[in-house]
């Protein structure tokens, strides 16, 4: 669409902006968050997002419990987190303002939908109507823009044949149009999206487009803002980029690994928050020959994958903590049978059902140790939404090349978060070194399914291959023939062999590197997984303030990179920030006997860079 020439000449150029969209869970907040994200990505800003929504699909209307939020941090500089505090808060109702005001910067901007501050909404938010924040001066110091978005939406759609509920549902488009104007954006990406989404629903499409444009023009003509803002495209490495969400990246990593290695991909799983989007994404691409199997429960999910792996497929299951607990026995079977299997744990707050839609890193020890018997498994963790791609690919590689089930850890934060991704070309992706057992003549010596190579890896002999028929099972087996064995010496040896096999993977993974700082820095911040962005931001800011700290982010947790001990030995102080009550720290202390200190946040929320900075400064006092 061509927009009329804007009457506002002045454009204020900003380096970085954080917007928090907040409203009722039925207000379409996630949708406009995602729309703004795609638009921002296409514009060329670096960005990071944090969707934060209630576990209930329709939590009680207007209440604090029902508030849904979507935070985006974007800029023309490198962006590693969704931002600590926001510059702009969009509040669709009283509850969303009350819940999020503390996350707004001093002198920040608030855009409120005044219709969301009537008596009823105030009461639902637990605010005394006499104490309406829009009238009681509690918002002094902030730049408040009051717009009756609901009313304007209704006005726009007076002529529409849609019902009143459907009309009101368009109000998120008003907000989106409004924000697009402020940040000097084209509406095209959202117009394209709406046209696709409401194909065949002309009336709904018309209404949404009308309200979107109306929001845009209203911002323009109402002179609510004296100027518009521009955040110039970011300086990023040259290449092709796209926007990517973590779970989507995980799914693409799996598909790419299978496709490049000419393997069939099988996914067996059961719906669970926040992992289901991996299944959804895979199911979209069945033309790649992907077999997705929505099983009757978590156990059947992993067991079907084990069956497919026995059949020679690249087999995957994904879940979150509660589902992984259910799968534990079957994963132990895969350890025992030494079959490839990738198990993805998209962590969420626990224990038990815990905080299903909130993030946490509290399943590390579960995946390390949560199986009966001595059942060691490789564990790796993704550090950002786009890194989910690489680590999913790595999980497949390790699993197949070392004939072992592998755990890949991500979490709700990076699984639902988005960032620009300089995606690779297919040709640049190294195929997995797949070695399956060839047919052999029956007359040869008996087939030994547990004979191993120098990495202690056994062969993958797949049903359908003549001459290598064999039986696998959960019972302890003789170290070569694979026959059931209860021999005491054999059992001890097999336990040691299975552990050594996993440990030898260390020879086939990248060495640990420092993300920033040097081995001469005063202190090392050692993170793992999704804390990467917050720690990186903190380290960068500390450096600019003259504080010399180093940062290393571990992605390979079991086995650790071979040189990790050497790196750690350079530092007098090591801080380990984790979104749990101290789990990696136990592994580090156990393995390297160092006096690392923990920084633990267990609020269902990611770290803010500020929190890490403060902790570092405390240690350096």
């Amino acid at each position: 669409m061509t927009l009329e020439k804007e009457n506002t000449e002045i454009q204020k150029v900003l380096e970085k902006v954080t917007i928090l969209y907040a409203g009722d869970s039925g207000d379409g907040i996630q949708l406009i968050g995602n729309q703004f994200t795609n638009n921002t990505a296409l514009y060329g800003n670096d960005l990071s997002t944090f969707p934060d929504f209630p576990a209930e699909i329709r939590a009680p209307l207007g209440t604090l419990a029902g508030v849904s939020g979507f935070q985006i941090n974007f800029g023309n500089v490198e962006v590693f987190t969704p931002g600590d505090l926001c510059d702009v808060l969009v509040a669709m109702n009283a509850a969303s303002l009350k819940k999020n005001l503390s996350r707004l910067k001093k002198r920040g901007t608030i855009i409120v939908n005044t219709a969301g501050f009537d008596k009823k909404n105030l009461r639902l938010a637990g605010i005394d109507p006499a104490d309406n924040p829009l009238t009681n001066s509690s918002l002094e110091g902030f730049k408040v823009h009051e717009v009756d978005i609901t009313k304007m939406t209704r006005e726009n759609l007076k002529e529409s044949s849609l019902g009143s509920k459907e009309r009101d549902r368009c109000k998120n488009m008003f907000v989106l149009g409004f924000i697009y104007w402020i940040y000097n954006r084209s509406l095209d990406s959202t117009i394209d999206f709406l046209e696709l989404k409401f194909k065949g629903k002309q009336e709904v499409l018309k209404a949404n487009l009308k309200v979107l444009k109306s929001g845009y023009h209203f911002a323009d003509t109402s002179e609510t803002f004296s100027n518009r803002f521009e955040i110039k495209p970011a300086e990023m490495e040259a290449g092709q980029y796209r926007n990517i969400i973590g779970n989507q990246a995980t799914a693409l990593g799996l598909i790419a690994a299978a496709h490049r290695s000419e393997m069939n991909l099988f996914y067996g799983g059961y719906p669970i928050t926040p992992a289901s989007d991996i299944l959804h994404e895979l199911a979209k691409h069945k033309n790649f020959g992907i077999k997705t199997f929505q099983a009757e429960d978590e156990i059947a999910g992993v067991c079907s994958a084990i069956g497919a792996s026995f059949g020679g497929d690249l087999a995957i299951t994904a879940s979150s903590g509660p589902g992984v607990a259910l799968k534990a026995e079957a994963i132990g079977l895969a350890v025992m049978m030494e079959l490839p299997l990738v198990v993805i744990n998209v962590q969420r707050g626990g224990p038990s059902t815990g905080l299903p839609t909130k993030t946490e890193q509290s399943d590390l020890l579960q995946v390390m140790y949560g199986r009966n018997g001595e059942a060691p498994m490789p564990v790796i963790a993704a550090q950002s939404p786009s890194d989910c791609f690489e680590m999913a690919y790595e999980a497949c590689r390790i699993s197949v090349e070392h004939m072992t089930p592998v755990f890949l850890l991500t979490d709700g934060y990076i699984a639902n978060g988005a960032e620009p991704w300089k995606f690779p070309s297919a040709e640049a992706l190294e195929p997995i070194a797949l070695k399956v057992k060839d047919p052999r003549a029956e007359e040869d010596a008996p087939y030994l399914p547990y004979k191993r190579n120098e990495d202690l890896v056994r062969e993958w002999a797949i049903p359908g291959t003549p001459g290598v028929e064999h039986r696998l099972g959960g019972l302890e087996k003789d170290k070569e023939t694979g026959n059931v064995s209860y021999e005491p010496e054999n059992h001890q040896e097999m336990v040691k062999i299975r552990a050594a096999k996993v440990n030898r993977i260390a020879k086939h993974i990248p060495k640990q590197e420092l993300d920033s700082g040097t081995t001469n820095s005063k202190l090392l911040i050692l993170g793992w997984g999704s804390t990467y962005g917050a720690i990186k931001t903190a380290a960068k800011e500390l450096k600019s303030e003259g504080v010399d700290v180093a940062h290393a982010q571990i992605r390979y947790i079991h086995p650790f990179p071979e040189n990790l001990g050497e790196i750690l030995s350079n530092f007098d102080q090591v801080i380990i920030p984790e979104l749990n009550d101290g789990q990696l720290i136990k592994l580090i202390r156990d393995r390297y006997l160092i006096d690392a200190k923990g920084l633990n946040k267990i609020k269902g929320l990611p770290f803010q860079a500020q929190e890490i900075k403060e902790e570092v400064l405390n240690h350096l006092k």
Partner: protein
């Protein structure tokens, strides 16, 4: 593999070829031996190369079965053989997949996977060894034990109503339901052949005597003196006749099955219920021939044979067709296109 070798395999296989080198560890006198023998002897008749056959089991006495078969096999975990076999069959539709399970494995801990396998109708065969007891854990009552069963875990008698495995299977929309006996090997072999030839999930319940913990549980169907009066062998298109001298029959009175005498001159063979495996309504009544008190003269005999058979699309055929259709709709896989997604932008250096 050289073509010659392949030919040799298919042509000359005998039951012995399907016997692994492992010592069999079931108790002497166990009904499992007879079943193993029949399975091994039926294998060469299937015309399926040995390497294309897979036995998957769970946990329990019966689940040791795969170790004794010289095919591919997996002795998995308790209750999950059905789920594992589902994944295997989905990934490799051409394999002949056999699930060996027991009454505890399939109906207690594995009950959920069992019913879901049946409704999905993967083309696999389930051999459900029913001995109405937990053998491997040394004698606790099972989901098929009769009420009042006194075992180590129920010294005062069990309280729970037993499952009727065939009624459960029919309820889960199984497409092939049959019952056989360890002590009637000839019949068992026929049923195994039928099971393999059925396209879809074939559920074969096999009454299996546990001579250690539940000896004689099926005596009324196996003891010479009693079996003819208590068992009814189903044959497609044939009237339901049983009794020591084939002197009794079954008629259908409304929805009620009744025993009639064939010697009192009142009823002839033409009046009897004619077995029709395709008749789901009749199958529903047949699976309910489940009276426990076999000494009661009015008690219905226990049927053996194929109760029901239906042709319905298998899950794996549906899956294969869907994947093919997706390629038609979306085109051949293009990884570069997938990685790029719908919206990209370029950063120039």
């Amino acid at each position: 593999m050289p073509e010659v070798l392949k030919e040799k395999e298919q042509n000359k296989l005998t039951a012995k070829d399907f016997s692994s080198d492992q010592d069999i560890r079931w108790c002497p006198g166990c009904g499992d031996y007879s079943i193993l023998k029949q399975v091994q002897s039926v294998m060469p008749e299937l015309g399926i190369p040995k390497e294309d056959i897979v036995f998957v089991s769970g946990i329990g006495c019966s689940s040791r079965f795969p170790y004794y078969m010289n095919t591919y096999g997996m002795h998995s975990i308790h209750g999950r053989a059905t789920a594992i076999a589902s994944g295997l069959k989905a990934s490799r539709p051409n394999l002949s997949v056999w699930i060996v399970t027991g009454d505890g494995d399939s109906l207690a801990i594995g009950g959920n996977h069992f019913i879901h396998l049946l409704r999905r109708n993967f083309d696999v065969n389930i051999l459900l060894f029913n001995n109405q007891i937990y053998g491997l854990t040394k004698g606790q009552y099972s989901p098929t034990s009769e009420i009042g069963k006194r075992t180590k875990s129920t010294p005062a008698g069990s309280l729970d109503h037993p499952f009727n495995p065939l009624a459960l299977s029919l309820g889960a929309d199984s497409t092939f339901i049959a019952r056989a006996l360890d002590r009637d090997p000839k019949h068992l072999k026929e049923i195994l052949l039928r099971a393999e030839r059925h396209k879809g999930t074939s559920l074969v319940e096999i009454y299996q005597n546990c001579n250690i913990f539940n000896d004689g549980a099926f005596g009324s169907f196996t003891d010479k003196s009693a079996k003819k009066d208590n068992s009814l062998y189903l044959e497609q298109g044939k009237p339901l006749v049983f009794g020591a001298d084939d002197d009794k029959g079954i008629v259908l009175d409304g929805f009620q099955a009744k025993i009639v005498s064939l010697t009192d001159g009142k009823t002839s063979l033409d009046d009897l219920w004619i077995h029709d495996e395709k008749d789901r309504n009749k199958a529903n009544i047949l699976v309910r021939f489940f009276d426990d008190n076999a000494s009661d003269a009015s008690a219905l005999p226990r049927p053996f044979g194929v109760f029901y058979q239906e042709d319905r699309n298998t899950y794996e055929d549906g899956l294969t067709a869907q994947l093919k259709k997706e390629v038609e709709l979306k085109g051949s896989p293009d990884l570069n296109k997938l990685l790029a997604g719908a919206n990209t932008w370029e950063k120039k250096s």
